[in-house]
């Protein structure tokens, strides 16, 4: 594409509206004020649309498209909060039934439209991805031309540019014009303007960095979105849980076998019946946990081969309470749940069917319910052999079996062999169950005691995205402050062919610029430029060109 060469000699990219160097309008913008948006630089997206790549690029570069994506994302996000997301409905409830039961037809619709898992649905993710793409492309498309234009601007601007600035004044230059210009330069430096002079022309500029605010802000936003997306990767974000019985050592999930914890002790304290918080229903108090705590020992395994016999190193002992997690190597273990009094041990005694108090039968055996022995030899000569063990007994398909390996309903098939005998007698023993299986039975096992254990549930979390999210947030705020609390002001003063020209531009807060001008006028006697936008408005002579320019005159949105 051809370059556009301005009469000042500067080469501008195709599509430039105002010469990057001298500001001469290169395109007919009609009468009235010049459009200062992006310094009249060529926004590439608006100029080329040859290939399919250009077309996609232009689509995402459009602010209109960006606003639509934001609006759609906001609407979708708010719809997802109408009813709870699936992960927050009570555990064990089936989503397909729950929403209709709880919220009626609206709930059913909510479920069928997939809003119960909205934030991880493909179309929501596409919307957010579209937002990120729009941010990136629109920023690239605007930042670089603007940067170029502001970097290339020269002191001596074209009269056509000056004349069509919102703040403009011209008059015959007096004898002292040169001195006044010099004085103005010094005065503006005092006001902390950056002043450049060239052939008796002056450009004073202040707060240019505020024009980068929106782009800094967008970078922060993109970093934030990247951080949020990284949560989908287990390497970056892990949320799991483990159940640990008292005395048991369990590997911490997600650590690849490197770390394990042993539950040393689980403590729980309930509310007191007399607690004033439960004054209306004191019977409830004893069911509500006041505090609970798991004291754990953390171990670190150095060997990579599982079962190699290398003993793990003890790292530390720590009491985990709600909101007081154990943190190590990026992982955190939180106290989340507990199960009280899980059966752990049965104590049996052998006794004859015909009851007796004989001392012979006071002998007992302890049977570990997690991992019982095969044979128990008793000192009184009896042998108890475990033929079958079902930790969570169930009778299915005409067969005894177990539901899982948790001893919630333990049942044994045992063979009791009295001293000196070859053949034993079989029976089935469990909670409130003691059925002889042999034809003749003289003995049976009597459960004399049992023992229980508390089980503690610990949530395993690792979130490596937090620093990214914080960094994104900070950059976002920096950009916002940069763009909102500072503004870009420029003052041009020229002496040309016996005429004195003054013009001013601000990207917002024109009042501050006007104040600067009146201050300058007090100091140096230079005239104050008039606000051409206001004048036109009161004159009622606004034409199309002015209207469109005036719309942006208050602030140049980036």
């Amino acid at each position: 594409m051809k370059k556009v060469i301005c009469e000042c000699g500067h080469e501008n990219p195709y599509g430039t509206e105002l010469c990057e160097s001298c500001g001469k309008p290169l395109k007919d913008q009609g009468k009235g004020l010049v459009n200062m948006r992006y310094e009249g630089a060529a926004r590439r997206s608006q100029t080329y649309s040859r290939t399919i790549v250009d077309k996609i690029w232009n689509f995402f570069s459009s602010v209109k498209v960006g606003v639509w994506i934001i609006v759609l994302t906001l609407i979708a996000s708010s719809l997802g909060t109408v009813f709870p997301q699936e992960m927050f409905i009570p555990p064990g409830e089936r989503a397909s039934v729950y929403y209709q039961q709880e919220y009626g037809t609206a709930g059913q619709l909510f479920y069928q439209l997939g809003f119960h898992n909205l934030y991880s649905s493909w179309w929501y993710m596409l919307l957010v991805a579209g937002l990120a793409t729009s941010l990136i492309i629109a920023s690239i498309d605007r930042f670089f031309p603007l940067y170029r234009a502001l970097k290339n601007q020269r002191v001596t601007r074209h009269p056509g540019f000056m004349k069509r600035q919102r703040l403009y004044h011209t008059e015959r230059a007096g004898e002292d014009a040169h001195d006044r210009l010099k004085k103005a330069g010094d005065a503006l430096r005092e006001k902390r303007y950056r002043v450049r002079e060239e052939n008796g022309n002056l450009l004073a500029e202040k707060g240019r960095f505020s024009r980068w605010g929106p782009y800094v802000n967008h970078i922060g936003l993109i970093i934030f979105l990247i951080g949020a997306t990284l949560r989908l990767f287990p390497e970056m974000y892990l949320d799991d849980h483990i159940w640990v019985r008292e005395g048991q050592t369990v590997e911490v999930k997600g650590t690849g076998g490197e770390y394990s914890v042993r539950n040393e002790e689980f403590l729980i304290e309930f509310y007191d019946d007399e607690d004033e918080r439960f004054i209306n229903n004191p019977q409830q108090a004893s069911a509500v946990a006041k505090t609970y705590q798991t004291t754990v020992t953390l171990f670190q395994q150095t060997s990579e081969t599982i079962g190699s016999g290398v003993e793990p190193d003890e790292v530390e002992q720590f009491p985990i309470r709600v909101n007081n997690p154990l943190t190590f190597d990026g992982f955190s273990l939180y106290q989340v749940d507990f199960k009280l009094n899980e059966l752990s041990e049965f104590t049996f005694a052998v006794e004859p069917e015909e009851g007796t108090d004989d001392e012979l039968y006071s002998e007992t055996i302890d049977v570990n319910l997690y991992d019982p022995e095969t044979v128990y030899e008793m000192d009184n000569g009896f042998t108890v052999e475990i033929l079958e063990y079902f930790p969570n007994y169930v009778f299915e398909n005409n067969e005894p079996g177990t539901l899982n390996r948790i001893p919630d309903n333990p049942r044994f098939i045992v063979e009791i062999t009295p001293p000196g005998e070859e053949e034993g007698e079989m029976s089935m023993v469990g909670i409130q169950v003691n059925n002889p299986l042999s034809e003749e039975s003289d003995y049976r096992l009597r459960m004399v005691d049992f023992d229980t254990n508390h089980v503690s549930a610990l949530a395993v979390r690792r979130d490596r995205t937090i620093p990214i999210l914080i960094a994104g947030g900070i950059i976002f705020m920096i950009g916002l402050v940069q763009g909102a609390y500072w503004h870009h002001r420029r003052i041009w003063i020229q002496e040309r062919d016996g005429e004195l020209l003054l013009a001013g531009h601000a990207n917002k807060n024109w009042n501050a610029l006007k104040k600067d001008f009146s201050w300058l006028s007090e100091k140096t006697g230079l005239p104050e430029p008039a606000d051409q936008a206001e004048k036109e408005e009161t004159d009622g002579t606004r034409d199309e060109g002015v209207k469109s320019n005036h719309g942006d005159a208050g602030s140049d949105k980036q």
Binding site: D54, M125, A129, I137, I306, G309, D371, T374, P391
Partner: protein, 176 residues
């Protein structure tokens, strides 16, 4: 100039598409396990029910059919019946079957193995350390490990006799 513009734009769009594609792929393909085809099989050394050490690393040179099971898993029990029948044939062809029980009481496992006369090596995964290393979340879970120690395939769920045979065939050294 025009060409450079096209290249830069295309590159940026491609990077964005790739990032999005990768995110979607990892998020929506639940299929891939912690250990899956192409990965190296995590090593372990555990004693089996007979007291022999089963060390995965030492089985290099043979294909390994590594199956995670429990007595309460019906599909696992079906699979065991098929494996029993073919165990010897495939041992001669250089395929080892290793069964890993998911931390059940020894008595339950021992009695089950005795009752069903399971002929191949069975280890009990105390503390679920092997299961965690392989990312086993549901049963039955099978990992086909080739003679070099690499995972060829990860199979979750019940399988028919024909499917089990096919899997064993894949493991015969030199077949792949």
């Amino acid at each position: 100039m025009k060409k450079r513009r096209l290249v830069i734009r295309t590159a940026i769009l491609l990077v964005l598409t790739a990032a999005l594609g990768y995110t979607f792929y990892t998020h929506f393909s639940e299929e891939r396990g912690l250990v899956d085809a192409g990965d190296e099989a995590p090593d372990f050394a555990l004693e089996d029910m007979e007291g022999n050490t089963v060390h995965l690393d030492e089985m290099k040179g043979s294909g390994v059919y590594l199956t995670f099971w429990a007595t309460y898993c019906a599909y696992c029990r079906d699979k065991m019946e098929y494996l029993k029948d073919y165990h010897e044939d495939y041992r001669d062809k250089g395929v080892e079957i290793v069964a890993v029980n998911v931390d059940e009481p020894s008595v339950s496992v021992q009695r089950y193995i005795d009752r069903h006369s399971v002929p191949y090596a069975n280890v009990i995964d105390r503390g679920m350390r092997v299961s965690n290393a392989y990312g086993v979340r549901s049963l039955p879970a099978v990992f086909l490990i080739d003679e070099s120690g690499a995972v060829v395939e990860r199979q979750i769920g019940g399988k028919t006799e024909a499917q089990v045979l096919e899997a064993l065939d894949k493991l015969v050294p030199g077949s792949g």
